[in-house]
Amino acid sequence: MNRQGESGGIVRRLWARNLLIWAALLALLLLSLVVAYVPMGRMTTASGIIIAGVKSTLVVLLFMQLASAKPLIRIAAISGLVFVIAMFALTFADVLVRI
């Protein structure tokens, strides 16, 4: 009985934590939908991308548990991001100066 009560507590804590993250993700989805209809020029486009960035940060750090991962795992995860940034930066260095 005691063990059952203990596992019930664990399940409740798991749901409480993850439902909170899920609610934040859905709220951000709704926010990006609303903001897309506000005419702010380039800021409208930028806000969509920034909100996507915030949403994926929540997923990576909390659902994928990178926030509590060991350094080796963090290096592997960040390496992908570093190379994507390099790819975008080098391409923009060419494309943006031609316009």
Partner: protein, 214 residues
């Protein structure tokens, strides 16, 4: 036989190391996937910089409701996947919760594919497939839809692989072929699933939101 010895595979002598290696391996794979989808999104960005009006006009033609509902479906599937993964790692034995969450994840993935199918049908009816008879006249709109079909198709393939992996996991756990507790396969599958979700999180503003304010 303990859970750990049932899960231990060659060449590892120690379950802890096997777990770490599996996790490291999937993260390296996910980093390469980030580059793969990053390259596609970079191509989109360069084309959009060159054809801003055409991309706004093409973006307006996408069905924002299908896109938004599907994003919510995938975000919810990430919730159930995270629950399955975290429940398997707790000291308590939560086999039933793991099984239910895995089943929900696979079903939500299938729901995404079905909704996408309805959307594809509508796109084809509206003649939004690049080539002869394409609906939009602005040069550059075909580039947008070239990206749309390519990237949503590749994403759907990734998601289908995810559904197959989650369904297999559900089946072997249901038949007691492997223990649910501390099973590293759940964590590794979950990490892959979340990446497929993240790709869609970025595709949503790129595909569905351009041109809505103008």
């Amino acid at each position: 036989m303990s859970d750990e010895s049932a899960l231990l595979r060659e060449p590892w002598l120690d379950f802890g190391r096997q777990r770490e290696a599996g996790k490291f391996g999937i993260w390296v794979f996910l980093a390469s996937e980030t580059l793969f989808f990053g390259a596609l999104m970079l191509t989109y960005t360069v084309c959009r910089i060159e054809h801003p009006e055409a991309f706004a006009a093409a973006g307006r033609e996408t069905n924002i409701w299908y896109g938004t509902i599907n994003t919510a479906v995938l975000l919810t599937s990430s919730l159930t996947m995270a629950m399955a993964s975290q429940a398997s790692e707790t000291p308590a034995r939560l086999r039933r919760l793991v099984l239910v969450c895995l089943m929900l994840t696979a079903l939500l993935g299938l729901a995404f594919i079905v909704i996408k199918g309805f959307e594809y049908k509508e796109d084809i009816d509206k003649q939004l497939v690049p080539g002869a008879g394409f609906a939009l006249s602005l040069p550059g709109a075909q580039l947008f839809y070239g990206f749309y079909w390519l990237v949503t198709g590749v994403h759907a393939i990734h998601l289908s692989i995810g559904i197959a992996l989650v369904s297999r996991l559900f089946w072997v756990l249901l038949r007691h072929q492997l223990p649910a507790k501390d099973n590293p396969e759940i964590e590794v599958t979950a990490l892959y699933w979340h990446l497929v979700d993240i790709v869609w999180i970025f595709l949503y503003p790129l595909i569905y939101l351009p041109g809505r304010a103008s």
